[in-house]
């Protein structure tokens, strides 16, 4: 898996897993790299997988789809 965070303004298809949420900001784990992600645009909870675009989660995946999707990149 390789991507650059500079590519976040483009469509990053790699899902990240929410580790914690505080005040609309989530700590999201992208295969070991942690990133702050704004979750104001979705209804997401800890453990969900999210697709992130320009610093914001735009869609939530259930656990199984998220895990399967991460597999595609390995």
């Amino acid at each position: 898996m390789h991507f650059e965070f500079s590519e976040l303004i483009m469509c990053l298809a790699y899902p990240g897993k929410i580790k914690s949420i505080k005040n609309g900001l989530a700590t999201v784990d992208f295969d070991g790299i942690e990133k702050e992600v704004n979750v104001s645009l979705v209804d997401a909870k800890k453990g969900d997988y999210v697709i992130v675009h320009a610093g914001f989660a735009i869609e939530v995946m259930d656990k199984k789809t998220g895990e399967d999707s991460q597999e595609i990149f390995k």
């Binding site: 500079s6 483009m10 298809a13 704004n38 675009h53 320009a54 610093g55 735009i58 990149f73």
Partner: protein, 345 residues
């Protein structure tokens, strides 16, 4: 890998059965990039023609908007925007050029970073651009007090414009993945052409192409969703509500197309306090936008309409390279010219 080989052989089989030439257009900058990086255009059968469309937001930004934001920067207003835009040149140069002349210009990854900069530079303007995918973030930031110059656009009217222009016979669209995550699949139905909402991995794109060919062979004109792991039929209502809470629909100005009715997004009156076009009207009124013209000889406008591939432009790879880009199709990492150049080298 075996799955990809299977998809390619099924694509070959369907292409043979269809027999005639087929034009498929992708309309998302990240698809342009993924297709180039994975060499997908090269492995497709001869009668399947993959055209690139207006899916790169930086590329379709109008010269007028570039001239406007550079004018603000040169007038001493701090400007922030996504990194790709900084090198797009206009009549007064690019934002990068303005920075060299002493203007305060910042490249940011997201609007949160722009809001943080605003704390240091209270009169900062964010140049907001992008399609349905990035507009919700700008709307969110406006509600938090970010001053914005909006060049945001709604995407489907551009697809309609392409079909109405009729310059290219489009048999099917590879619909954008993340625009669709916001708008869902229904809005595409008005276009009345074969379409598949497609993800960004090589396997997704091959699957999308295969689904399009199956539609074309059967004479179906449906909107199918290959990217179901992300795109829901109803899209992201929360994000859409936010867009229309802050923005209203206007006529958008696109490079290569000119005005497309109903494709633009302007900040609503109730948020005009955060609208740079209102706040800095006195500066913008002094700029003669009738002189805002695309760079001489640049064919980016024809590239985004799918009329030519980059190599048809005499400047491509010679006078115009990623190091010295003439137009935005070579500037942007999502631009067709940039990607054709990078995959060639």
């Amino acid at each position: 890998m075996r799955m990809q080989q299977k998809l390619i052989s099924e694509i070959n089989k369907l292409a043979r059965e269809i027999g005639r030439g087929v034009n498929l257009m992708e309309v998302c900058g990240t698809h342009t990039q993924a297709i180039s990086r994975n060499g997908i255009r090269q492995i497709l059968p001869e009668n399947i023609n993959l055209i690139t469309g207006p899916g790169c937001p930086v590329c379709v930004s109008s010269q007028k908007d570039i001239d406007a934001i550079v004018s603000l920067a040169l007038a001493g207003i701090p400007v922030a925007t996504y990194g790709d835009v900084l090198r797009v040149a206009g009549r007064f140069g690019s934002l990068d050029d303005a920075r060299e002349k002493g203007a305060r210009v910042f490249g940011v990854y997201d609007v949160v970073e722009a809001l943080a900069l605003q704390k240091k530079y209270p009169n900062l303007v964010f140049f907001g651009l992008g399609f349905d995918t990035t507009t919700p973030m700008t709307a969110w930031a406006i509600k938090k007090g970010l001053m914005v110059y909006s060049s945001h656009k709604i995407f489907i009217p551009a697809m309609q414009a392409l079909l109405d222009l009729g310059e290219v016979n489009i048999d099917g669209f590879i619909d954008p993945g993340h625009v669709s995550a916001i708008i869902g699949s229904k809005p595409y139905e008005i276009l009345g052409v074969a379409q598949v909402i497609t993800g960004f991995e090589a396997q997704d794109i091959l699957e999308g192409i295969l689904m399009l060919l199956a539609q074309i062979k059967d004479g179906r004109k449906e909107v199918e969703n290959q990217y179901q792991r992300v795109v829901k039929k109803e899209g992201n209502r929360k994000a859409r509500n936010l867009i229309f809470e802050v923005f209203e629909i206007s006529d958008g100005n696109w490079r290569g197309f000119g005005k497309i009715p109903g494709s633009g997004l302007e900040i609503k009156k109730e948020f005009s306090h955060f609208d740079a076009k209102v706040k800095y009207k006195n500066i913008l009124d002094k700029v003669d936008f009738s002189l805002s013209k695309e760079p001489l000889g640049c064919r980016c406008g024809e590239v985004v309409r799918g009329l030519i591939l980059p190599k048809k432009c005499p400047m491509f790879g010679k006078k115009c390279t990623p190091e010295n880009p003439i137009g935005p199709c070579m500037v942007s990492l999502e631009g067709a010219c940039h990607n054709f150049f990078s995959s060639k080298n």
